[in-house]
């Protein structure tokens, strides 16, 4: 106990003993500096969320047809004789555009909105849909081209956040958000580790081409392996995932 004799004794409401002032001063400096260093180390090493973003500077306005395949898509002949294009669609926030697509099936419409773009994945956030009165008849829409049955590895994302509505917009920390988006009607997108016909992104449907149900909930945001038929719809690939073959990768 004799070692305690010279030890300073701190009482909260009395001045700090002289011997403790230096110790506590050093501790205070270490505390503030340590937290500062930790902040810089943690903040500066954040992972790159990629180049996905809303293209606010390049608003979308094109004329074409809305279809349900089974998620709402917008099909155009392509600008000035270019190749036909098929766009995935989303509403404002975490909402899909099933209602607008149903109301305007079979008629030419002009869709206005904001593209959300990440590499060659483009999703259009629909702002307005107006029917075109003097449309020059129906476009000649192609039917899907089958590309065979594939086994794909990758992640099921919600198409909007992954495209860049959120940065980062994938991964397990984002799982609940992806669930909320897909439940709200935003198409699920399969992000493959490698390309099929030059594309890494697939609009996902179930094996029969219907809207995905609760069966993907537990697999969202995980790296999974799934088999299914792949089809090409203009420039968009559709993955008809056979969820019975799905397994989580180790």
């Amino acid at each position: 106990m004799s070692s305690q004799r010279d030890k300073p004794f701190f009482v909260g409401y009395l001045p700090i003993p002289k011997q403790l002032v230096a110790f506590l001063g050093v501790f205070a400096v270490c505390f503030v500096a340590g937290l500062g260093l930790a902040a810089l180390a943690l903040s500066s090493t954040q992972d790159d969320p990629g180049d996905g973003a809303f293209q606010w500077g390049a608003p979308f306005e094109e004329t074409g047809f809305l279809e349900l395949r089974p998620y709402p898509v917008f099909r155009t002949t392509g600008a000035e004789g270019g190749a036909p294009k098929t766009y995935m669609l989303t509403g404002q926030g975490k909402r899909g555009v099933f209602d607008q697509a149903r109301e305007n099936q079979g008629v030419a419409v002009t869709v206005r909105g904001v593209p959300v773009k990440r590499g060659d994945l483009t999703m259009v956030q629909v702002g307005g849909v107006t029917q075109v009165e003097d449309a020059e008849g129906a476009f000649d829409m192609s039917e899907p081209v089958p590309l065979g049955r594939w086994r794909l590895s990758g992640e099921i994302c919600d198409g909007k956040c992954y495209a860049g509505a959120m940065r980062p917009g994938r991964g397990l920390a984002h799982k609940a958000c992806a669930d909320l988006c897909i439940t709200g009607g935003i198409p699920p997108v399969f992000v493959s580790t490698g390309p099929v016909a030059g594309r890494n992104f697939f609009l996902m449907t179930d094996a029969n081409g219907n809207v995905m149900g609760d069966e993907i909930k537990d697999l969202l945001a995980l790296y999974v392996e799934i088999e299914g038929d792949v089809e090409r719809l203009d420039d968009l690939l559709v993955f008809k995932a056979d969820m019975d073959t799905a397994r989580v990768l180790r």
């Binding site: 089958p146 594939w150 580790t193 016909a197 392996e225 180790r250």
Partner: protein, 52 residues
Amino acid sequence: MKRAHRVAHARIWTILAFALPLALFAVLALRQTVPLDRPPVLISAPEGEAVQ
């Protein structure tokens, strides 16, 4: 004899001091990495044509 809260304290930390690092490292060991070694595999080509 220790007071009740000190007994509880000792028990909680005897468990936590071992269980918490174990749980943390177990969860970290399960962490998935991008399966770049698994490219898409064509299982059956569509009728009458080969892809790629």
